[in-house]
């Protein structure tokens, strides 16, 4: 990884919701949201104030890919060592279940030579931690892990200098371990880090060049250390936003419009205001808010509000793919190579097909929730989010107050998967708190979460390909409508190709989701390749090998073939499918085996995954992420879809939206290509990326009919 990349964060433009928050009466002002769609405008406008606070200057544009945000250079911005020996690390990254509170602490412990127990991470506190764009893109280990290792190595260097002074010994006679510096010639002489900072805190800058530990000396990294937050999680002591209780705190609730785009005409609040325990019921533009002493009173009041809405005509799920084609805005060529027409002319066989994926929901177990408290004009918010600084900016913009008047804290967060980038619940809680004049906590119901959160974009993808009868691709034309750019450019060796993204004004609120558009793009590409395999009579592996040059992709493919016994599977191979992906610079090959019942309903029975994500920090957390991504992907592959009709979401409970349950879990075999000398890359998203294609390819072989639409067990028409 390049140095500049290691010290900054890349923000992909594809994260629509970042540039598209529409806080005013959520759901009723879709136009505002759409106006900003894809423009990146809010990102640019909102960030400099925060950057100014951290002593940094603006963004660096990275071509069409997005923006880079530099990181502070002072050790003190990232780490404080107390005379007691306690080490506090500050990072704007957040723990939403992926295990980074543990893996980042491991990185620090390793480079600082400190015990894991002495380290505490302050995460996502906008008053205390350096600015951070957000916890997304599978970037925490690749960027923050690298950054904190540099910080820790720099701090260790300063501590060694101080110890050398104190002991009047050359540094070559000093070693560090467990939070102390020891004289090697006289091991009984040692100084603790606490003693070394008693004279003054470490205020140095992080040097540009800083030697990190050789992987051969690692004692904490690459170890399956238990999650440091495990005790809190298994005892129920971990506090999520809706678990926070403050004196005089009220419960907030919002009365939602009946459909997207509906405008409030009038609302009769009189009955609601008479419900015992209701402190305030109010209308503010399109927003109907309630503050009550209890959850029960808030709910009863909401039911008693008679509101009249003017609704807009909306479209339905059945029309969505045609809508995408009809409504597409000017396309963006993402990649162009060689001469496409020449490629098609040289082809012996041509194939044109389309692939469809519906909108799906993140459906985090913790619905959006937040607390808000106004104190002398300053707003304090606790919210489970992937973007504390983004939420801070949204709140400042919404309430027209300076950013330094907003303090966002991220408590325990009940998963996110790309779904918690926006400040919706925080803004609602703060609006109600301001009107009621008391602190408020507000949690969305499951139905609100399914209806008013944003979705993974639905995708319509067209591929036109030409190839020789030996399987060599001569031409590749790829069009993604609406769902996005990530992973659209094929990781194969194709001489003549064109890859195009067609943005669309989505009728539903859409945004980031684990892997962004890569699961959709990979699904279309890898299914199409199997179709070519069928036409040429080539084995899926042979076809891919024919067109593959990337050595790391080759190595995971070979590993997946090896562990799945692909070559010798015989008859079983007729129920097996394969797919490859590159995502967040991580390489994944997955093989799936399926079965079907008499009605043709598919179940995944076994999965083999080979993953190369560079150096591994915590192999157990890594496996947990891979297993989780695979099982979660069973949901969007087989069953999950958002249905909607005339602007109304019809899939609003776990009874309609069929997330994976324990009975869906197949046998999973994982092979990690662990190269400690290759920089760590992402793992949160990549294993979810090739999965649907592997299963669809297996199902197509098993049932001898081609699957091109998700979810496999009940695709949209």
């Amino acid at each position: 990884m390049k140095e500049a990349e290691a010290r900054s964060e890349l923000i992909e433009q594809e994260r629509y919701e970042i540039s598209s928050f529409f806080p005013d009466a959520l759901g009723s002002d879709r136009r505002t949201f759409l106006k900003l769609f894809g423009s990146g405008l809010v990102v640019i406008l909102a960030a400099p104030a925060s950057l100014a606070q951290s002593g940094e200057s603006g963004f660096q544009r990275q071509g069409a890919r997005g923006f880079r945000v530099p990181m502070p250079k002072d050790i003190a911005a990232w780490m404080r060592i107390e005379p007691s020996g306690k080490i506090t690390v500050f990072t704007g990254k957040v723990e939403v279940g992926q295990g980074v509170r543990t893996s980042l602490a491991q990185a620090v412990a390793e480079e600082l030579s400190a015990t894991l127990e002495s380290i505490e991470l302050v995460m996502g506190d906008t008053d205390l931690t350096p600015f951070d764009m957000g916890t997304f893109g599978s970037r925490t280990t690749a960027t923050m892990g690298v950054q904190l290792r540099r910080v820790a190595a720099a701090a260790r260097g300063v501590l060694l200098d101080r110890a050398a002074d104190r002991l009047k010994r050359p540094k070559s006679d000093l070693s560090t371990s467990d939070g102390r510096v020891r004289m090697m010639s006289k091991p009984q002489i040692e100084i603790t880090y606490g003693e070394l900072v008693a004279a003054g805190p470490i205020n140095n800058e992080i040097p540009d060049q800083i030697p990190e530990k050789d992987p051969a000396q690692w004692r904490v990294i690459d170890r399956p250390i238990q999650r440091v937050d495990g005790l809190a999680k298994v005892t129920g002591r971990a506090l999520y936003a809706d678990d926070l209780r403050m004196p005089a705190m009220l419960v907030g609730k919002v009365v939602r419009p009946p459909s997207f785009g509906a405008k409030l005409i009038n609302a009769d609040l009189s009955a609601a205001q008479q419900v015992p325990g209701v402190v305030k019921a109010f209308v503010d533009g399109n927003f109907i808010g309630i503050a009550a002493e209890t959850q029960e009173a808030a709910s009863q009041a909401a039911e008693k509000i008679q509101a009249q809405w003017q609704e807009e005509k909306g479209i339905s799920d059945r029309e969505i793919f045609q809508w995408f084609k009809n409504q597409a805005k000017p396309p963006r060529a993402l990649d162009q190579r060689g001469d496409l027409e020449q490629g098609f002319a040289a082809a012996e066989v041509r194939l044109q097909q389309s692939y469809r994926l519906p909108y799906i929901a993140h459906a985090s177990m913790e619905p959006r929730s937040a607390t808000a408290e106004w104190k002398e004009g300053r707003l304090l918010v606790h919210v489970g989010t992937q973007r504390p600084f983004g939420c801070k900016s949204e709140l400042a913009v919404f309430f027209k107050i300076p950013e330094n008047q907003v303090h966002v804290l991220v408590p325990a967060t009940g998963s996110a998967f790309g779904g918690k980038h926006t400040a919706d619940a925080a803004i609602e809680a703060a609006r109600i708190a301001r009107t009621a004049g008391r602190p408020v906590r507000l949690a969305w119901t499951r139905a609100e979460e399914f209806t008013w959160a944003y979705f993974r974009p639905a995708a319509y993808i067209e591929i036109r390909s030409g190839f020789k009868s030996d399987g060599t691709l001569t031409a590749w034309e790829f069009h993604n409508y609406n769902s996005g750019e990530r992973g659209a450019v094929a990781p194969y060796n194709i001489k003549n190709s064109l890859t195009v993204f067609h943005p669309v004004e989505s009728p539903l609120r859409q945004g980031s989701y684990r892997g962004l558009a890569n699961p959709a793009n990979t699904f279309a590409r890898e299914v199409h390749l199997d179709e070519i395999g069928e036409l040429t009579g080539l084995d899926p592996v042979a076809l891919r090998l024919k067109n593959l040059a990337d050595p790391r992709l080759l190595s995971v493919l070979n590993k997946a073939i090896e562990i799945s016994g692909w070559a010798s599977a015989g008859e079983r191979k007729n129920s097996m499918g394969l797919a490859l992906a590159v995502d967040a610079a991580t390489y994944v090959a997955e093989v799936a085996e399926v079965d079907a019942d008499s009605s043709g309903r598919i179940a995944v029975t076994k999965v083999w995954a080979a993953v190369d994500c560079g150096a591994v920090v915590n192999p157990d957390i890594l496996r947990n992420q891979i297993e989780g991504a695979i099982v979660q992907a069973i949901g969007y592959t087989l069953r999950e879809k958002i249905l909607f009709e005339d602007g109304k979401i019809l899939t609003s409970s776990f009874g309609d939206y069929l997330a994976p349950r324990i009975s869906d879990v197949p046998a999973i075999e994982i092979a990690i290509v662990n190269n400690p000398r290759t920089p760590s890359t992402g793992i949160g998203e990549p294993p979810a990326v090739p999965f649907a294609a592997a299963v669809a390819n297996a199902a197509s072989r098993h049932l001898k009919k081609r699957f091109r639409s998700l979810p496999l067990n009940s695709p949209l028409d």
């Binding site: 939403v96 279940g97 992926q98 295990g99 238990q226 999650r227 937050d229 495990g230 005790l231 809190a232 999680k233 298994v234 005892t235 129920g236 002591r237 971990a238 506090l239 999520y240 809706d242 678990d243 209780r245 209890t294 959850q295 029960e296 009173a297 709910s299 009863q300 993140h362 985090s364 177990m365 913790e366 619905p367 325990a412 967060t413 009940g414 998963s415 998967f417 949690a443 119901t445 499951r446 157990d620 957390i621 947990n624 992420q625 297993e627 989780g628 991504a629 695979i630 099982v631 979660q632 409970s653 776990f654 009874g655 997330a659 994976p660 349950r661 324990i662 009975s663 879990v665 999973i668």
Partner: protein, 158 residues
């Protein structure tokens, strides 16, 4: 119209006032400030709110608070005894059987109920017993392993 009922929560018998229309989950979380049990769906579809009532796992989000009058409630907060974690809690930590932890209190209470009813469950028993508990992070493989681990330990100690 508030009404008081007597019930035993985590071994402590107490009298609490019940709001009209209040469900057990709200009583536990809002009246008693035991926030381990979670709201996940409000309609008994996800199991995040699971607590034990007289040793049986119930979905507290749909259980009327008044219906537990005189009964024994066990929540995640009451599972550890004298500072010692319950074997199921220990197994969840050792197996890393969670990610975000939001479903974990409900999941653990369901496992405790499952093992009380069936100390040596088969894989199929585990799948059936935990069918009502959603983990969106999908740590299910590990959850299954944690259950078998506890069952195995108990078998060994008998």
């Amino acid at each position: 119209m508030l009404r008081s009922i007597e019930l035993t929560v985590n071994g402590q018998t107490q009298s609490v006032r019940v709001e009209p229309g209040q469900v057990l989950l709200s009583l536990i979380r809002n009246t008693l400030s035991l926030t381990g049990a979670k709201y996940g769906c409000g309609e008994a579809q996800c199991g995040a709110c699971t607590v034990l009532v007289n040793d049986r796992a119930v979905r507290s989000c749909v259980t009327p608070a008044e219906s537990v009058e005189g009964k024994q409630i066990l929540t995640i907060e009451g599972l550890a005894k004298n500072g010692r974690l319950h074997p199921v809690q220990r197994a969840f930590m050792e197996e890393g059987a969670f990610q975000c932890g939001y479903c974990t209190p409900g999941m653990i209470m369901s496992v405790v109920a499952l093992l009380r009813a069936n100390p040596n469950p088969s894989d199929e028993d585990v799948r059936k017993g935990l069918a009502g508990n959603l983990c969106r992070c999908c740590a299910y493989t590990r959850i299954g392993r944690a259950v078998k681990k506890v069952a195995g330990q108990r078998g060994a100690s008998q």
